[in-house]
Structures are given as C-alpha cells and as structure tokens.
C-alpha cells in the first residue's frame, strides 16, 4: 500500500501529459509519468519515491503502438514507450529484441512492465535498452516548450524531438525535467525474424549449473546476425549476472552488456579490438595463435574461429581432444571459455585474456552484489562473449 496520497491523471495525448507535468511543476509539486506502474508503485510503497502526481501515459496512442515512421530519410520501426514488454515478446518482431525483453522479470509482470518503464527505470539492469544501443536507434520525446531552450515550433504546446539514443543514454536514460519519452525507433533492417531458441524455452542449466540459454539469429540480407545470452544466479526468474547482446551490423560487430556493470553499455573497446583484428573470426584466430597457445592451429587451415565454436560447447572433460579433426589440440582451449568445463579451459586462455583485457580497458567498475562478485561477473562476461564470438564466427561467418 502506498503510504501517501497522490493525484492520478490519465493523459490521452502527449500534449495532455506534458501539460499536466507543467501544471504540477508550476505548483511546486512533483509529478511522474506512469507507464505500467510496477516500479513507481513498488518504490512508493517502500517510501523510496514520493510524488504528488502520477500521469498515466498508457493511453497515449503513439506511446502504445508499433508504427513505421520516417526520420532522416530512412524508415524506422517506432515502438511506443508504454507498450507492455509481452506485446513485443509475443509479437512478430526482431529476434534479438524479443530475446532481450523476454529475459526481464517474469511472464506475468511483463504484462505490466513497459518498454519505456524498463529503459527509464531506476534498477541497474534496464535490459530493454540493449537492442537500441546496438542498433544506435533513436528516442522520440515530447518536452514542455519552457525546457527546450527556445522552441522552433512556436505555438505548439510541446516540442517533439528525435535523437540518437546515445545522446540521451549515459548509464541511464536522461530526459530533461518534464520531457516525456514517447517512442524508441529501430532501423527497418531490424525486421521481424526468427529466434533459434524461443524465449519461452525452459531454462537449461549451463555447465556451471546456472541458467545459460543462448539464442541467436542468422545474418540475412534483411537484417543483422545476432547472439544473446543471459546468465543468472538462480536458474529461474532472477536479475542477470550477465546479459550479452551482440549484433553484426554492416561490417561491424557490436557488443552490449547488461548486469556486468552497474548499468547497460556498449563494450566499445572490445568492439574496436575485434575490428582491428579483422572480425570475430580473426580475433579468435589471433587468440588461438597467441604466445603460449597452439601455433600449429592456423597451419591446419581450419576455418578461423571454428575451434572456438566447438570448444565453446564442450561440456565434458576431454571434449576438446575430440575436436582434433578440426585441427585443434593445445591452443584450441584459447577459445574454450564458453562453458569452461574441459581441462585447461576457463578464463586462462589467450582468447579469454584478450576479451578480459578489453573489458578492463572499458574503464567501468564491475557490479558487485549478493548475486555475484565483480570478479565472477567479469569471468561470466568473458565466457559469454567468447561463446558469442565463436558462434558468430562459425554459424554466421562473421567477418572472416
């Protein structure tokens, strides 16, 4: 039960919502935009949030629909910020987007949690933003004219703006006071696509007993190849230790992480290292021939990265030895950080060291809480990334 009185306003348009906020602001009161209400109700109940007014935005037409729009001469999918997550998870939408949203909370709560609510939320995970970070999507907002430094559309009660998400998202989405987040735009090449493992699949414990449910989609003429993996302490519903989202876009391989740090972010140093190496396959291949690894690996003429892919799924001691036909043997373990179960596997390989060094160079602190230490989160992130790189290199042929 919320221990204080508040005022409830249901807005039917962005103009009404912003006007309500401005009115409350002029009174010297606090007002919050409301999507599904889950976080505001929870925080208010715990006396961690006080508000004089909530402005329900779930009935604003453009905030509760998926539409196509034109911006900058391009077509975009515009996802309403007030869409419940399950409307997207269950719909005909891009696979990585659906996978990222399906990992959030539990099935029933996702009927209430909204896209905008998750991305703008106070919890550190905000996994819904990962596809937008990867796609370098746009955010559409509506702001009171008084906060935009001089509106160009004089006469309109609000100013609508579309900006790259990077301009508004730094650790968290940072709209100006009173600025209403209306929609999130994804490029049209993020078209509906299949998911190799449906998000509804039962949790399959990884080799270390924790949930490890990678899903992926092949690169197509219409859209990016991608890889997704979420690891949690509890095998069922839990906040993530690591959420990894990777996508091949153009000639780039982009990597975004949630749960690892105190906020979701792109791993730009790692992306640059992969780019410098010439792609995921070359990055892993270089790892396989790093000092101390098996220099003969390349001499066998195997497909770059293939060893890493095999090793990533190795689940039994000695599994790597069985990969000898692929020209592995010592050195293949460099990529064998996927599940880290075979002798010599784990985070000690050259590939793992390169990934770890890149993550360290991001300059971000690894999150530490009762679910896992900073070192453990780092290790799991390395494992997930290695598995993702190996998968994209072998299955999708990423930038060979």
């Amino acid at each position: 039960m919320i221990p204080f009185d508040l005022r409830y306003v249901r807005a039917e348009s962005a103009e009404e919502a912003v006007a309500a906020w401005s009115t409350a602001n002029k009174r010297g009161e606090t007002a919050h935009y409301l999507g599904g209400g889950t976080e505001i109700v929870t925080l208010a109940r715990e006396s961690k949030l006080y508000t004089d007014e909530v402005i329900d935005c779930s009935r604003i037409p453009e905030a509760s629909a998926v539409e196509t729009v034109t911006e900058g001469g391009r077509e975009w999918f515009a996802y309403g910020a007030a869409l419940p997550l399950n409307r997207i998870v269950d719909g005909d939408h891009q696979g990585l987007l659906r996978a990222c949203l399906a990992g959030i909370a539990d099935r029933t709560t996702r009927n209430s949690i909204t896209l905008g609510g998750n991305i703008c939320g106070m919890l550190p995970y905000r996994e819904a933003v990962l596809p937008w970070l990867l796609a370098e999507g746009l955010v559409e907002t509506a702001a009171p004219r008084s906060t935009d430094g001089g509106a160009t559309d004089k006469g309109a009660p609000i100013r609508r703006v579309r900006r790259p998400i990077a301009e508004l998202f730094d650790k968290r989405l940072k709209p100006a006071p009173g600025e209403l987040v209306l929609r999130f735009l994804l490029p049209m090449d993020w078209a509906p696509s299949d998911v190799s493992t449906p998000p509804a699949a039962p949790p399959s414990p990884g080799a270390d007993g924790r949930r490890s449910d990678p899903t992926y989609g092949p690169r197509t003429a219409a859209g990016p190849g991608w890889f997704y993996q979420r690891r949690t302490k509890d095998p069922r519903v839990d906040y993530p230790l690591v959420t990894l989202a990777m996508a091949e876009i153009g000639d780039e391989l982009r990597v975004a992480l949630g749960g690892v740090w105190g906020y979701p972010a792109r791993a730009t140093v790692l992306e640059e290292a992969i780019r410098e190496a010439g792609g995921a396959a070359a990055f892993l291949d270089r790892a396989g021939t790093a000092p101390g690894a098996n220099a003969g690996n390349a001499g066998h003429g195997t497909a770059p990265g293939a060893n890493a892919g095999n090793a990533g799924h190795g689940t039994a001691p000695g599994a790597n030895a069985g990969n000898a036909g692929h020209g592995t043997a010592p050195g293949a373990n460099a990529g064998n950080v996927g599940h880290g179960t075979a002798p010599g596997a784990g985070t000690g390989g050259a590939g793992a060291r390169r990934i770890g060094a890149a993550l360290d160079a991001e300059g971000r602190s690894f999150r530490e809480d009762h679910r896992g230490s900073a070192a453990y989160r780092r290790e799991l992130a390395i494992q997930a990334i290695a598995e993702g790189l190996a998968h994209l290199a072998t299955e999708n042929g990423a930038m060979r």
Binding site: Y8, R107, T108, S112, A201
Partner: protein, 163 residues
Amino acid sequence: MTEYAKRQEISLTVNGEVRRAVVAPADTLLHTLRDTLGLTGTKSSCENGDCGACTVHIDGVPIKSCLTLTLMVADREITTIEGLRDSPVQEGFREEYGFQCGFCTSGFIMNAQALLENNPGADAATRIDWLQSNICRCTGYEGIEKAIDHARRVGFQNGVDSQ
C-alpha cells in the same frame, strides 16, 4: 484528460458485474478488491510483484494486482478467482491435489486459466515459463504442474494429449 485528486466513488467491472467502490488515487487494485469489494480470494503476500498470489485478469491478461493502481484499470474488465466457476483449471487442482496450504492457489489458477485460454495447446516449456511468475511457499510445484496438465487435456483440448 481524466484527473482524480482525492478519494471518490467510481465504477469497476469485476467478474462481469458493475461495482461501485470508493477509491483513493494511491490505492492498488489488490486492496480495492480485498478491502473495498470484499473479494478476498485474491491474496496479499509480498506486495512486491514477486509471488503472484495477487494475480487477476485485466481484459483476460494476467497481471499482479499489487503493482497496479486501481484507477489505471478502472475502465477495463477485471476478473478475480471469484469469477471462475468450476473451470477446468480449478477441477485440475482438485483432482491432482495441486495445493498444500492453498494460499498461493488462486494466483496459480488465475495465471494458468489465462495461459490455457490464450494457448490451449501450451507445451511444457511454455507452461513452465508462465508458472515461474508464481511462487508456492510449500513447494507443491509437481502437483500444480499436474493440475494444469490435467486442465489442458480435459478442459481445453477435449482429452487430446498432444504434449
């Protein structure tokens, strides 16, 4: 734009009936149902969205009523456990002993009812995915899963066991 600044009487459609209720803007649906309308089959437990004991349907979609302001759904169709009358899911729980202390049962039933109405052929993976929204403190999950499987076969698939 609609504004509610103080406690006032509103109409709610609950279990197919229009009910009048005095509601404050800060009231959650859970407390309106239990404390104002006397529909105590919807259980109050964690009030944090974790346990699912307070699950009800809004326009046929399961939601956790502890996380929902009553005014957000005042013009929607609300269904509580009292609105189900001998549904196949209830029969399944009875036949398969899908309860122990029974506190979580109404939440599980409401969730399972929505699942099977939405997807009568739901496979085991889908059923588990949905049921993870609810917690049974007695850990009676095996009986609950059997109950829902019973309901699926007997009530929603005319006895056809496709899974």
